[in-house]
């Protein structure tokens, strides 16, 4: 497999920073950064990372099943992660999650038919004091209301339409 020069540079770095003979340590970082570029973790990607880290594909595969941010199917271009854990729950996180599903007409871990959005109910993301919080891909949004979420989704849609 070939990747972008930026990702190749990251891979080179990951293979260098761990102690000699411990290149297996690079598996999880490589998987996550590769997924950001390719959209999902395929068996081809698993085999490639296994080859580069000098392990069996199964050893990579078993880590994929463990980490909740690693996905075998593509997510939407904008992956909306709504926290409903205790601090967010207390100030409307659950209502926000229900609102997001209704607004986009999809359920947990589903993707809109245009591939633009997906939703995931997630566990605590470390924004408890500024709850309720969501992440769109890696971007944090704090003190989100249903109105703010509507606007965010509409803005992202418009942004995408302009880019087309």
């Amino acid at each position: 497999m070939t990747f972008s020069p930026e990702l190749e540079a990251k891979f080179d770095k990951f293979l260098k920073i761990y102690p000699p003979g411990r290149q297996r340590s690079a598996i999880v970082p490589m998987l996550l950064y590769a997924q950001d570029e390719t959209g999902a973790i395929t068996s081809e990607l698993i085999a490639e990372i296994a080859r580069r880290c000098g392990v069996q594909p199964l050893q990579v595969d078993e880590t994929v099943g463990y980490y909740s941010m690693l996905h075998r199917k593509p997510l939407g271009k904008y992956h909306i992660q709504v926290c409903t854990n205790i601090s967010c729950l207390l100030v409307g996180g659950e209502e926000l999650y229900e609102h997001a599903k209704k607004k986009l007409g999809i359920g947990n871990k589903e993707v809109t038919s245009d591939g633009l959005f997906s939703i995931e109910e997630v566990e605590c993301m470390g924004a408890c004091s500024w709850a309720p919080a969501i992440q769109v891909n890696y971007d944090f949004h704090h003190e989100v209301t249903p109105e703010k979420l509507d606007k965010l989704i509409d803005d992202l849609r418009a942004l995408h339409a302009r880019a087309q």
Partner: protein, 436 residues
């Protein structure tokens, strides 16, 4: 950037640079005592460094509260193996969001703290394990690390000392369990994050089977001030055996939720009133989880309490990771417990049976209960399942699920009983009504 206004009652040691422009930049750090503690540490023996940290009464800020200096002293410094300095930045205890602001606003203090730890045990490499969701912080830390290399602070000749120290970031990919120290070590080795049998403890056999210091972000960030101003000065800020300040993360039903740096032993009720701005909408306080969702819940009448490790332990809870979750009178405690248990059932790594099965069955019973299908015997059943998990699991995740469960049943049995016989949740619309 700061996400909430600071409070005048704060005592700013770790957060003293937060309000400066470009607080994360190396220039800012250097112009405000930055890397002077490391410079001082270069003139100290490893024993002296460790003694100073012991004198500070600094205790691990990740949750367990183990004395940091003692932890460092367990590392066999003369071992022929390489030693590693690992930072746990896998912040994921529900209610906790302090390591995020520390790395975002003052990344160099973390690097300096790790360098000093490195000197103390003759290590030459540090790794910062950052949860995958904190991608922007990996970029912040990488930028700070690059700055430190460019200035000769990190590298084969750290600050001209002839001693080599390197720091790297490592990303997680979504797993609460990887905050458990031995699971983190398996994770950084490229495996599933499964806890290891202890002993051996990480100090003796940690990362890549080598002696390892493993501390939380906030713990390392406290080290420069301790070495610079002396352990005694840091200790004096807190209470006996509970040195210094800590970052408290106030969340839930207060007017001014936020992350605030307060001295150890700060009174909890005062924290809610004077730092958190009091209860939202003039509601009454019902309960507080004092240190992240793993800690037993406190009823309102138990909250006149000094927030240090020992006083909170005496109140049969834990200071934990500093996540103070505040709940008002309209909160359904069954629902709160259900949400917490859903979390633990989701995050249990599945390695040992009491945790995997216990959390899953407790979640199922709580779902049924909150939906109105509960049986009176379920209340004791839930307590019993939790009691039998406690102390019988491989790592602390099982305890972290069992302890809140037991405390919720002990202290709010009446609320569980109010859900019996198919009655709808008495609190279902309480917050909506309050808003009208």
């Amino acid at each position: 950037m700061l996400y909430n206004e600071p409070n005048p009652l704060e005592v700013k040691v770790l957060t003293k640079r937060f309000e400066l422009p470009n607080s994360a930049a190396l220039e800012t750090y250097l112009s405000t005592d930055g890397y002077q503690a490391f410079q001082k540490a270069l003139g100290m023996t490893p024993e002296q460094i460790i003694e100073e940290v012991k004198a500070s009464a600094l205790r691990g800020r990740g949750g367990a509260g183990f004395p940091t200096g003692m932890k460092w002293s367990f590392v066999p410094r003369n071992s022929p193996k390489p030693k590693y300095i690992i930072c746990n930045a896998d912040e994921s205890e529900p209610g906790t969001c302090k390591d995020r602001v520390l790395m975002e606003n003052d990344p160099h203090s973390l690097i300096e703290g790790m360098m000093i730890a490195g000197r103390a045990v003759d290590s030459h490499a540090g790794y910062i394990y950052i949860r995958g969701e904190y991608r922007y912080l990996i970029e912040v830390m990488d930028k700070a690390i690059d700055e430190a290399y460019a200035r000769g602070i990190l590298g084969d000749n750290a600050m001209g000392s002839g001693w080599a120290f390197h720091v790297y970031t490592h990303t997680g990919a979504g797993a609460y369990e990887c905050g458990e120290e031995t699971a983190l070590l398996d994770s950084i080795e490229g495996k599933r994050g499964i806890p290891r049998l202890k002993p051996p403890f990480p100090a003796v056999s940690g990362a890549w089977q080598s002696p390892t210091i493993l501390n939380n972000v906030e713990t390392y960030c406290a080290v420069p001030a301790i070495i610079r101003d002396g352990g005694a000065a840091f200790a004096a800020l807190g209470t006996p055996k509970n040195g210094g300040t800590r970052l408290f993360c106030l969340s839930g039903h207060v007017n001014k939720p936020g992350v605030y740096e307060l001295p150890m032993g700060f009174n909890l009720l005062r924290m809610i009133e004077e730092v958190g701005g009091g209860m939202r909408n003039g509601k009454k306080l019902k309960a507080v989880i004092p240190g992240g969702s793993s800690c037993p819940v406190l009823k309102a009448d138990e909250c006149d309490l000094a927030m240090d490790y020992d006083a909170v332990a005496k109140a049969k809870s834990m200071l934990g990771s500093g996540g103070v979750v505040i709940m008002d009178e309209d909160t359904c405690m069954v629902k709160a417990m259900l949400r917490i248990m859903r979390f633990y059932a989701h995050e249990s790594c599945g390695w040992c049976i009491p945790c995997r099965e216990g959390t899953t069955w407790l979640r199922k019973v709580l779902v049924r209960f909150h939906d109105g299908g509960g049986r009176k015997s379920d209340i004791d059943l839930m307590y019993d399942v939790a009691r039998n998990m406690l102390g019988r699991t491989f790592c602390a995740l099982g305890d972290a699920a069992a302890m809140p469960m037991m405390s919720f049943v002990e202290k709010f049995r009446d609320e569980f009983e109010a859900h019996l016989d198919g009655r709808p949740c008495p609190y279902e619309h309480a917050h909506e009504l309050a808003a009208v």
